[in-house]
């Protein structure tokens, strides 16, 4: 197990370097004046341009620029936004809100997704299964902003069950609708993944042997079928995080949640290139860490990895 952890960590390092390099490269190694390009059609005040040129050491060779950038990131220096606030401060203020939103979303999608998937898989071909399939396919097809707008319109405007935008301080009850929206697509994927996994596990030999020992179906389903079916679902969580990050950007923007996503959304809309780069870099780093954690979780769930002979 220790060997597994060490190997994963070692594997993560070149990926980390490569990813940050790629992001930096996309923005700063392109021909033309990167500062002007970053701002798109907007023209920032000349002092800002000067400041940025100095900041990004544009007179230095590209590799040096990159390492300075990397060093800055790890020292927590993420630059300044147009409004003058250090990006790291903005992140610190908005991160807890997004965290709450994400936790809610993951909670919804896991509970609902695994339950629906389990029942669909156990009663394959039945009415529940067919309906769940149709609903899942539709949900996967809807872009997240469509789901967000439809939810906002129906539940916020028409039915009035929820506020259409989140209030000051983002009280948790206001986060429920955005969390549900955020969870939608992942819910559909988790349902289908769980279903496939349950069907596969149900046909395994050890399930029949468990029954032959005299175990009741009520025990076999959670202990043998569900437990084994969870492994592929956990693996999916890593990818899911990426989907959530993108979804959060859109959802927070639409519901006006004062989180990381909305800040990124506004920075994109306003064309604040450097802020976008900093935010995306941090998000990617978090994504890498989450991936690593999921791999570790996978080892916990599967003893074959933990105790490799």
């Amino acid at each position: 197990m220790a060997g597994y952890i060490v190997r994963r960590l070692l594997q993560a390092i070149p990926v980390l370097l490569g990813t940050t390099f790629l992001i930096y490269f996309m923005v700063f190694a392109m021909p033309g004046d990167p500062i002007v390009a970053l701002f798109g059609d907007k023209t920032p005040p000349p002092q800002v341009i000067e400041q940025l040129r100095e900041r990004y050491h544009l007179d230095q060779p590209f590799i040096v620029q990159y390492f300075i950038f990397l060093g800055n990131i790890f020292r927590g220096d993420l630059g300044t936004s147009f409004s003058g606030q250090p990006v790291s401060e903005i992140l610190a203020a908005t991160f807890p809100v997004t965290l709450r939103l994400a936790v809610l979303a993951i909670f919804f999608e896991m509970i609902a997704g695994i339950s629906v998937g389990l029942i669909s898989g156990l009663r394959k071909g039945g009415i529940f299964d067919a309906s769940a399939l149709v609903v899942s396919l539709i949900l996967i097809s809807l872009p997240i902003f469509v789901v967000a707008f439809v939810a906002q319109y129906i539940f916020g405007i028409q039915l009035g069950w929820f506020r259409t935008t989140v209030g000051v301080g983002a009280p948790t009850q206001d986060l429920i609708l955005p969390a549900l929206v955020l969870a939608t697509i992942s819910f559909a994927q988790i349902t289908r993944l769980t279903r496939a996994s349950v069907i596969d596990t149900d046909t395994q030999d050890f399930v029949r042997t468990a029954a032959s020992k005299g175990l009741s179906r009520t025990r076999i389903v959670p202990v043998h079928i569900l437990r084994n079916s969870l492994i592929p679902v956990v693996t999916y969580l890593a990818v899911d995080f990426g989907v959530l990050m993108v979804g959060a950007t859109v959802t927070e923007g639409i519901f006006n949640v004062p989180g990381v996503g909305r800040t990124l959304y506004q920075a994109i809309i306003r064309g604040e290139g450097p802020t976008v780069v900093s935010f995306v870099t941090v998000m990617v780093l978090i994504y890498l860490v989450v991936n690593l954690l999921v791999d570790l979780l996978y080892a916990v769930l599967d003893p074959r990895i933990r105790y490799a002979k």
């Binding site: 029949r208 042997t209 468990a210 005299g214 009741s216 025990r219 202990v223 437990r227 492994i231 599967d302």
Partner: protein
């Protein structure tokens, strides 16, 4: 409708008024498929009394496993009992409710499955799974009691330091140990009846005998009635008092196993008797020579079976062909061959350790060993599918290590393989014609018309209809696919054919057919065979020389007769002892 055949005057029939423990009456089991109802079991009758042992014998598709699963109502997929009764001590199990069945399973009927790896949940510890069985059947309650009982079960299964073993996981156990645990779990509640579904087929040969002895002693100790399923007639007759032979979902013959073996009446049973390698090799040993064995078989029995599957006839044919060969030069010479694999993290693994042997042209040498013996690695090195670490392989006078490029390409056409898995040896997306002609195409032999003609010729040689050229592998059975694989191997008219467990995955009758085909082809085409297998009984029938391998080394090498009549090494003796059917009386 029953024919009662009483050939042995000393048998008397006695009615003691006792009720049978298990009575299966006219059982019908079907599966619902896209094309309607498929009957897997069609009118099966079985009677089993307390304390007895009964074996159901049949090939795949005979319905033997389905019958066993039907007894405990754990049929896979769409299987269901569509008629008949299953009486356990008078109670009809087909009418039992779900809850009743749950309490009967484990408590009254125990089950030992076939494959010990796939039948244990990999994510839970062994202790957890054993304790589960104990708790479910009410043998013990309370954590301490349950754990104590679990340790007892493991100890009874022959596992040392059971306490530590409880916390380990299935993948940390060997195959034999896992099967012992499963047997232990099956017997944990001291059930009246134990059903064992091919309990040793997935294990190594020497382990099989140990496990079966273990099973036998446990059930005798507890007085458990044993019902076991097998495809090996020799094994069934050796271990069970009563025998039931199934074919296509029906019982074709049943009764005391000794009687059936000495005097098989139904043509199908006669086929099985003629085609079972274990019985054939026992018969040869018992009679002293192949010729004597052939004449010892009952006249009508061997006639009914026909030469195509009569293994003793095959052995005879081969022995005659061997005599006709003048002392031949070696086709293959292997000297001090070694292969070391470098495994990341655990150092070096020596798969093949300094082995040497020779194969004379036109003969068959068998390389026998269990899993991990290195025999397959030897085959791969011979075919240059793996590099050698050291040592020499000389084929037809050329040292393989020094042959490269075009020469190697040409040399490849002179030795061809046939592999074990019929379902993996043919490209599923290419039709039969293309598969067989690929060697010709690759080596640029002839025009397209020539190649077509050769494909037809090859199909004739392996006794398959020419119409198969446009068909695909998924439409053929395992035996047919192996024939195609053989045809492909023969396409370039090789001198040497390497058969790596080529018949191990086939049903008994089909296996006998293929062995006969191989023997005929060998004498017709003057082929040299390297036959790799774990089954010594098959070796008796088709090999001239034997090399016994254990953990990378050759422990004994001699002619087949010598190895069987006079084994020198203990391991060889173990392998011989593992051939089932030791205790059966054969012949008149």
């Amino acid at each position: 409708m029953t024919e009662i055949v009483n050939t042995d005057v000393q048998q008397t029939s006695v009615d003691t008024g006792e009720r049978p423990l298990l009575e299966i009456k006219d059982l019908q089991v079907g599966f619902t498929t896209q094309d309607g109802l498929v009957k897997a079991v069609d009118g099966v009758n079985i009677t089993l009394y307390r304390g007895q042992s009964l074996a159901i014998v049949g090939e795949s598709g005979s319905g033997k496993s389905t019958t066993a699963h039907a007894i405990i109502n754990l049929l896979p997929g769409t299987g269901h009992i569509s008629g008949g009764q299953i009486l356990l001590d008078g109670q009809d199990l087909t009418k039992a409710s779900k809850k009743e069945m749950e309490s009967i399973r484990g408590r009254k009927i125990g089950f030992v499955p076939q494959d010990p790896m796939s039948n244990l949940n990999p994510v839970w510890s062994i202790g957890f799974q054993v304790e589960e069985a104990i708790k479910a059947n009410g043998i013990a309650t309370g954590r301490k009691e349950v754990k104590k009982r679990a340790i007892e079960v493991l100890k009874q299964a022959g596992l040392q330091d059971a306490d530590r073993r409880l916390k380990q996981f299935p993948h940390q156990f060997s195959g034999g140990m896992r099967q012992r645990v499963l047997i232990g779990m099956g017997l944990a509640a001291d059930p009246q009846l134990l059903i064992a579904d091919e309990p040793t087929s997935a294990l190594d040969v020497t382990v099989q005998r140990v496990i079966l002895d273990h099973l036998e002693s446990l059930t005798r100790e507890l007085g458990t009635t044993l019902l076991f399923i097998t495809h090996d007639l020799g094994l069934a007759a050796e271990r069970a008092e009563q025998l039931v032979v199934m074919y296509k979902g029906r019982v074709v013959e049943s009764g005391p196993s000794a009687q059936i073996l000495q005097n098989p009446q139904h043509p199908y049973t006669q086929r099985l008797v003629a085609a079972a390698p274990s019985l054939a090799s026992r018969r040869i040993q018992a009679s002293g020579s192949i010729a004597a064995a052939e004449s010892s078989m009952a006249e009508d029995a061997s006639a009914a079976a026909g030469d195509a599957i009569d293994l003793i006839a095959t052995a005879e044919a081969r022995a005659e062909a061997l005599e006709a060969l003048a002392s031949a030069p070696p086709a293959i010479v292997v000297e001090n061959l070694t292969k070391v694999f470098k495994i990341r993290g655990s150092g070096d693994f020596t798969a093949v350790d300094d082995i040497s042997f020779q194969i004379a042209k036109g003969t068959t040498t068998a390389l026998v060993g269990e899993s991990g013996s290195g025999k397959s690695t030897v085959a791969k090195m011979l075919l240059k599918l793996e590099d050698t670490t050291s040592g020499k392989i000389v084929v037809g006078g050329r040292d393989l290590a020094s042959v490269t490029g075009k020469e190697m390409f040409e040399l490849r056409s002179r030795m061809q393989p046939v592999f074990q898995d019929p379902y993996g040896s043919l490209n599923p997306l290419r039709n039969i014609g293309n598969t067989i002609s690929e060697p010709l195409y690759t080596h640029k032999v002839g025009t397209r018309a020539d190649r077509r003609a050769r494909v037809y010729e090859l199909l004739d040689q392996v006794s398959l209809p020419r119409t198969l050229v446009g068909r695909y592998p998924n439409e053929l059975s395992g035996g047919q696919r192996q024939r195609i694989a053989i045809a492909r191997a023969l396409a370039l008219k090789p001198e040497i054919v390497v058969l790596d467990e080529a018949v191990s995955a086939l049903d008994v009758l089909v296996q006998a057919q293929i062995l006969r085909l191989l023997a005929d082809l060998q004498s017709e085409l003057g082929l040299t065979y390297l036959f790799i297998t774990h089954d010594l009984a098959v070796v008796r029938v088709i090999a001239d020389h034997v090399c016994v391998m254990q953990r990378g080394k050759i422990v004994e090498t001699a002619t087949t007769d010598e190895v069987f009549d006079n084994p020198k090494e203990q391991y060889t003796r173990d392998l011989l002892a593992a051939i089932p059917g030791a205790g059966i009386q054969l012949g008149a």
